[in-house]
Amino acid sequence: MKYTFLVMLFVSQLTIAQKHFTKTGITTFIASVDTFEPIEAKNESTTVILNTETGAIAALLFVKAFHFEIALMEEHFNENYMDSNKYPKATFKGKLINFNHENLTSETKTLQLKGTLSIHGKEKQIETEAQLKKLNHKIIFTSHLSVKPEEFDIKIPGIVREKIAKSINLNLDYELIEKK
């Protein structure tokens, strides 16, 4: 009886401790062209949850939490392009292919990342690479995405078209800790 209890406790521990997460992941937005003022913003409040049993990953960020150096740029980003009042969130739901928690070491491994990115109320299938490693019980996840505004129905007026990059880069930088 005593043993059954211990075994059950052990099993329940195993099933509970299967998620790594962060509330303060860093997502960087870069849409600069060489000839104009840099167009860059940082979101330091991205929520990311990784299921370490299946490799399933979910991320959520609030568009208004992107911080631009120039306040006016931030205003335009929210009001004219992203319609943040109407579409406050951007999300990603996907999977790291062939993810195995036990294989993670301090050496960086590259895995395929597939999933659905949702921005401005529009969804798009994404396939990219992600770099993972384990450092002091943290899973360090980095990845890079390249998206086009028109894929998400974001209209850029002709007058500024030349000042904003055709392809927008998103850099993902997440330090995931074990969820208890």
């Binding site: 997460f21 509330k23 303060t24 330091e44 409040s45 929520t47 949850i49 979910a58 991320a59 959520l60 609030f62 208004k64 939490a65 120039i70 306040a71 006016l72 931030e74 943040s84 009042n85 109407k86 406050p88 969130k89």
Partner: protein, 128 residues
């Protein structure tokens, strides 16, 4: 010294261009409004605020709120109040004086309701 009419006009134009340039610059590079300059739109307990957010939706975005509650966990960059509100700090040295179980009042910018973790998220939090 008296200026000719032509020179007066030129001088006036130069001043006008300077003023226009300066105001355009001021407009383009205006600074971010800090949290202390913004109006507090909600003040009260985290539970009460959560209720408001769940029914009110999008209007509770990018607004400054003052909340009070019990610290239920302390992380590297912020704290959780009453298991339902995460407060991210700009300056993590403010966290060193805090203890779990302590009741505090904070002021921060509401960024949204995080439905992955089912909690409210604030950033730029300050301890009141």
């Amino acid at each position: 010294m008296s200026l000719s009419k032509k020179n007066k006009i030129t001088l006036f134009m130069i001043i006008l261009v300077c003023i226009a340039g300066y105001s355009a610059y001021k407009y383009t590079y205006k600074s971010h409004k800090s949290i202390t300059e913004k109006e507090v739109v909600f003040s009260g307990s985290t539970a009460h605020f959560l209720e408001k957010v769940k029914t009110g939706g999008a209007k509770w975005q990018d607004v400054v709120v003052a909340l009070n509650g019990k610290i239920t966990s302390i992380g590297e960059k912020g704290i959780t109040l009453d298991h339902n509100t995460y407060c991210q700090f700009k300056n993590s040295t403010a966290l060193t004086h805090l203890k779990e179980g302590q009741h505090i009042a904070v002021k921060g910018r509401m960024i949204g309701y995080d439905d992955l973790l089912e909690e409210i998220k604030l950033d730029q939090t300050l301890i009141k």
